[in-house]
């Protein structure tokens, strides 16, 4: 089908105003948050109803045109990168919270709903939606579901998949299916579980039933400063060994601290090689008791400065620096790659030392911000895209770090997904038979491989 035919044929479904085809209109959709990759789609359509999405997918199945579903485009793995001969189905207008049932502790939402809007809607009922990726104020639930993106609280609360109860989805051939039933306990194979994190390769979620949790009664947030990155990494292992289960444990290294301080002035100790943030949450009497244990652990962990947030304002200041870290690093470098490999927690210190060595050897600066509680690293690899070859060198270092993660028994991705970026690294983690089974599953659901074509699986195929 020619470009012209595709565009005119889409008018069966959309008024002209909701079919974008001009170069200037398409430009914002050419990449997602991984801006190193770009591709121009033939058209972008803007559905306003689930029926329009279904009609579009059926149209794609009939015409053989591949499609990429997209929310706010915050994917850091190129997950919503367009296919050059395909269309983009932009789901931002499907942004209604269809039902919020506080007594059932669930919310039924459309895929274009912004993550933090769910918690905002649930707040008057004392409830919240747990998964909180750093892009929470912008990213959509549909994207969270596609990539099973988690955030800072995955050790205790699990990833996005643990908070999705049911999904109504349109498969690539236009078949509409209902997976799961809204209860936390299901029967039969966990189909919601296989759909979440499938990176858009199995179809498009139209309605998502989310589990809400009561807001913890209180928090106790501690910031500890260390002279070495390794000491901070070891402190995490000691906290865990003490039998504590914090809601979040985050580490930032010197470069990340410097950037965050310059950006928001959270008052972090600037002479620290690393800071560790540990947050306990739950019933007040319980977290008070846990805090006593935590403080004992932190004291013997070699921290040279320890701060306890005395009130909500102080707590927010501590988190402000952490939450701004990614964007703040933009002050240090015009470009950067964010990796999100995972290592077993006990090998954090080893991984950090090795990343430091790789950074030194390559002469490429790396800032580290990570979810230490679940071993999810976020090395930010700084480069200047205007210098020839700089991106390639940064990507090479990123690849080294991913191989390191696998070597230490971890994963190439903890929350960003494989997408376009890491597809050639998937065989580092999985063998031929494993990948073949995944491919067979993909083809059984989407024989023409129309849905998010080219993602997740190695490029040689």
């Amino acid at each position: 089908m020619s470009t012209f035919d595709i565009r005119s044929s889409l008018r069966e479904i959309y008024p002209p105003a909701r079919i974008l085809t001009r170069p200037a209109e398409l430009a914002p959709y050419e990449s997602d948050a991984l801006t190193a990759f770009r591709a121009r789609p033939v058209a972008v359509v803007l559905p306003q109803t689930q029926d329009e999405v279904v009609a579009t997918v059926r149209w794609c199945n009939r015409t053989g045109v591949p499609f990429v579903a997209r929310g706010s485009g915050t994917s850091l793995s190129g997950g919503s990168l367009p296919v050059p001969d395909g269309i983009v189905i932009a789901l931002n207008r499907l942004n209604r919270i269809l039902r919020l049932d506080p007594t059932e502790r669930l919310a039924v939402v459309e895929p274009g709903v912004i993550n933090s809007d769910v918690s905002r809607a649930a707040a008057p009922h004392g409830l919240y939606y747990v998964p909180d990726p750093s892009s929470q104020p912008v990213c959509t639930i549909g994207g969270n579901v596609a990539f099973n993106s988690g955030g800072a609280h995955c050790l205790k609360y699990g990833m996005t998949t643990n908070h999705v109860l049911a999904i109504k989805a349109v498969l690539a051939d236009g078949e509409v299916v209902q997976l799961g039933g809204g209860s936390v306990e299901g029967v039969g194979p966990d189909l919601v579980g296989i759909f979440v994190g499938s990176e858009g390769l199995l179809g498009i979620a139209l309605e998502i039933t989310l589990r809400l949790l009561p807001k913890p009664e209180g928090y106790r947030t501690v910031l500890a400063a260390y002279r070495t990155l390794e000491a901070a990494g070891e402190a995490v292992a000691q906290v865990v060994a003490a039998g504590l289960l914090p809601g979040a444990m985050e580490i930032m290294d010197r470069l990340a601290i410097e950037a965050a301080e310059a950006a928001v002035g959270a008052g972090y100790p600037l002479d620290a090689a690393a800071i560790l943030i540990v947050e306990l949450e739950g019933e007040l009497p319980e977290i008070e008791a846990e805090l006593a244990h935590l403080m004992r652990v932190i004291k013997v962990s070699g921290a040279y400065e320890v701060r306890l947030a005395r009130d909500e304002a102080q707590r927010q200041v501590i988190w402000k620096g952490r939450k701004s870290a990614f964007s703040a690093v933009g002050r240090l470098s015009p470009d950067y790659i964010v990796q999100d490999g995972v290592v077993p927690r006990g090998r954090l210190a080893e991984a950090l030392a090795e990343i430091e060595r790789l950074s030194r050897e390559s002469g490429i600066r790396v800032a580290n911000v990570f979810h230490a509680g679940d071993g999810n690293l976020h090395p930010l690899i700084l480069y200047d895209g205007r210098q020839p070859g700089a991106l390639a060198r940064a990507e090479e270092l990123a690849g080294e770090i991913l191989r390191l993660c696998v070597r230490l028994g971890g994963s190439i991705t903890g929350e960003h997904g494989v997408g376009m970026e890491k597809r050639d690294y998937l065989p580092q983690m999985f063998g031929q038979a494993d990948l073949e089974a995944m491919r067979r599953l993909r083809r059984a659901v989407d024989p023409l491989e129309l849905s998010n074509r080219g993602k997740m699986f190695p490029s040689r195929e």
Partner: protein, 358 residues
């Protein structure tokens, strides 16, 4: 015909040689593990042992035939536990059987069910290939989430051979509040209040016609204060259970010792808001039953034929799985869309060796 593989290679061989296969772990889920005519039972009890356990990681990997009890004993040595509280552990349930049946016990209320704690899986698919999915770290999104897919798959998508799980530090002490309400509707209201409260509840069960069991766990030094607050919230005379009596109570719940002899036991997927509708339909027959996980799971015990319960579940739009009882009907009521499940089945077991999925 029963095969008892000693290695993963053996499992592959059996799968390739036989046309109809029923995997079995400890055989505790009688309705699910008994073979139909012509099926070869693959008895996994020979594939046992913890492969890897690092307490500092909160993770372990073990072969699928490993008894849950054995794992629990090992974890307990390091102050850890399986928070999803696998049922029938004392009866001999295995890790593989627990995952394949998709069963969790009352303590799954707090941190999630078996689906939320399984991190990695190796299974033999319908063509005899060993397939791995997931990993051994607590956060990982690389590739399709096969570990989740295997939860509740009833051995019909593959034979599980190895599993990795997340574990947690075990609460150091427990207390349970037993409180009675005048009738079922008052009890359901109390259950709903607790469900949206900020109490960190370990388990929340309702036993018709009006008994609530509320379990809390945590550090010993704060438990009394928390218990006091909970009692004030419940606002009336309640009995508090502690120590051995408390532990024994929940042990009997997860072992299903309360199920009358000769009854089949059906797991029903439900939500708190639908408990009343199911209760109204069950009222005439009054089967032994228990609402667990804050009203997200009903266990219904029925003598004899399950036709009535099937009809009742269908009428209220709920799905049930028969776990204990004679082999035969295992799916009851209104199961979801089979189209997606069929396609998944086609990918992993195209020859249909493991039986129908839907």
């Amino acid at each position: 015909m029963i095969c008892r593989p000693r290695s993963i290679d053996d499992v592959q061989e059996v799968v390739r040689e036989r046309t109809r296969i029923r995997p079995r772990g400890g055989g505790t889920k009688t309705a699910l593990s008994a073979p139909a005519d012509g099926e070869t039972v693959v008895d996994m009890s020979g594939l046992t042992g913890v492969v890897e356990y690092d307490p500092g990681e909160f993770t372990f990997s073990a072969l699928a035939g490993t008894p849950v009890r054995e794992v629990e004993a090992l974890l307990a040595q390091h102050g850890q536990y399986l928070p999803f509280d696998p049922p029938l552990a004392a009866a001999g349930a295995t890790l593989g059987g627990t995952v394949a049946a998709g069963l969790s016990g009352p303590r799954r209320y707090r941190y999630g069910g078996v689906r939320d704690f399984v991190l990695g899986v190796r299974f033999v698919d319908g063509e005899g290939r060993v397939v791995r999915g997931g990993g051994k770290v607590v956060k990982n999104v690389a590739g399709f989430d096969f570990p989740k897919l295997m939860v509740g798959s009833l051995g019909r998508l593959g034979v599980l051979v190895e599993l990795s799980f997340k574990v947690f530090p075990r609460p150091r002490s427990y207390a349970t509040v037993h409180v009675e309400r005048a009738d079922m509707s008052a009890a359901v209201e109390a259950l709903k209040d607790l469900y949206v409260s900020r109490f960190d509840i370990e388990a929340l069960d309702l036993e018709p016609p009006g008994v609530l069991w509320v379990r809390i766990g945590g550090l010993s030094e704060s438990l009394d204060v928390r218990l006091q607050r909970l009692l004030e919230f419940l606002g009336r005379a309640a009995r508090v259970l502690r120590g051995d009596e408390e532990v024994a109570l929940w042990e009997s719940v997860r072992e299903f010792s309360w199920v009358p002899a000769g009854c089949s036991l059906v797991k029903v997927s439900i939500t708190p808001g639908r408990v009343t509708a199911l209760e109204e339909r069950l009222a005439a027959r009054e089967p032994a039953r228990r609402y667990s996980v804050g009203g997200n799971l009903a266990w219904v015990a029925c003598p004899g034929d399950l036709g009535d319960l099937d009809a009742i579940l269908t009428s209220v739009g709920l799905a049930g799985l028969c776990v204990l009882g004679p082999p035969g009907r295992v799916r009851l009521g209104a199961w979801g869309d089979g189209v997606f499940a069929e396609r998944v089945k086609r990918a992993l077991d195209p020859g249909g060796r493991f039986g129908r999925i839907a």
